[in-house]
């Protein structure tokens, strides 16, 4: 449940960098995503067409504060987004470093506190740091979105063990792996680990065939979730024969 909303599909899809509006439209449909992320920018060409795609997709809109480096920028952007998209959901990004696009945890917590108090339902883009996660929850966040790897890098789950720890540490908080996913297998791994959803953009938009890749990600996320629900077998250090020894012929 994400702020009281139950989703069938656990894939959240970004809308940037697609080769054409038609490919974006088809990719959203093929992915099965029910949540898509958008941004706010100075009006450019094709604004109306994009608004139509958003409406026709039938998806829930998750506006972001991408590119914001300060609390003030992020809060103002969130307020503008709430009015424009008619949703109190906000993917809160406060970027601390230009090369890694790593979140600035101090500004993130401060912005989250201001926005939560103002009635926003905040989806904070954070790291796997447990204390930052606790501070975000204390600030009013009911969802956390740890990064898989730096945005757009396609490196997958760079700190897998830390993500596992985070999952165990916040058993009742919806956790979304956001950013850095490059392949469906990585999205599936996150779901198998018990994450509640995966948010990605570049891996689909920059695929040779974005629509087919969107479908592949949708399937991987669904399979990963089903596998988690089914309960994975424990890992063992040694082999354990699966075929029974009992009744075996003596042929030596």
């Amino acid at each position: 449940m994400f702020y009281g909303i139950d989703l069938q599909s656990r894939l959240m899809l970004g809308t940037a960098q697609y080769p054409s509006p038609q490919v974006l439209r088809d990719a959203i449909a093929a992915s099965g995503a029910e949540v898509i992320t958008v941004s706010l920018r100075r009006e450019g060409a094709g604004g109306d067409a994009f608004r139509d795609i958003l409406k026709q997709s039938g998806c829930r809109i998750l506006p972001n504060t991408a590119g914001c480096h300060t609390v003030q920028e992020a809060v103002t952007t969130a307020q503008m987004a709430r009015e424009l998209f008619g949703t109190s959901w906000i993917k809160l990004e406060v970027i601390g470093h230009a090369d890694t696009l790593q979140p600035d945890p101090f500004a993130l917590v401060e912005a989250a506190r201001i926005l939560a108090a103002d009635g926003f339902e905040v989806f904070p883009y954070t790291t796997e740091d447990l204390i930052v996660g606790e501070k975000l929850i204390e600030a009013g966040c009911q969802v956390l979105m740890p990064w898989g790897a730096p945005i757009g890098s396609g490196q997958g789950l760079r700190h897998r063990e830390a993500l596992k720890t985070m999952r165990a540490h916040f058993p009742d908080i919806p956790l979304v792996v956001d950013a850095g996913i490059g392949a469906p297998s990585q999205a599936m791994a996150a779901m198998e680990m018990g994450f509640d959803a995966v948010l990605l953009n570049t891996a689909v938009a920059k695929a040779l065939d974005p629509v087919a890749m969107a479908r592949a990600f949708g399937q991987a996320v669904a399979a990963g979730r089903a596998a988690h629900d089914a309960g994975l077998m424990p890992r063992r250090d040694m082999a354990v024969a699966s075929t029974p020894i009992f009744g075996m012929a003596d042929l030596a």
Binding site: T15, L24, V38, G44, M80, E83, G152
Partner: protein, 65 residues
């Protein structure tokens, strides 16, 4: 009066933010506005007065990740 609109210097006769939006041909309902870094809701644009070198941002939905 000279203001900065979306990063470009603009000469305007508008006195309020609402008048500027109208003058510059924006569809008032499909943009969000901020002045000097502060959000200005649609309903209050008519009462927010522009000043010389005010920094106005007029934003629309765009693709994002």
């Amino acid at each position: 009066m000279r203001i900065e609109l979306n990063g470009a210097t603009v000469e305007t006769a508008a006195a309020t933010l609402a008048a500027l939006i109208e003058e510059q041909g924006f569809d008032a309902a499909s943009v969000a506005t901020a002045m000097d870094g502060q959000f200005v809701p649609l309903a209050t644009r008519g009462t927010v007065e522009l000043h010389d070198s005010a920094k106005v941002e007029v934003l629309s939905p765009m693709q994002g990740g």
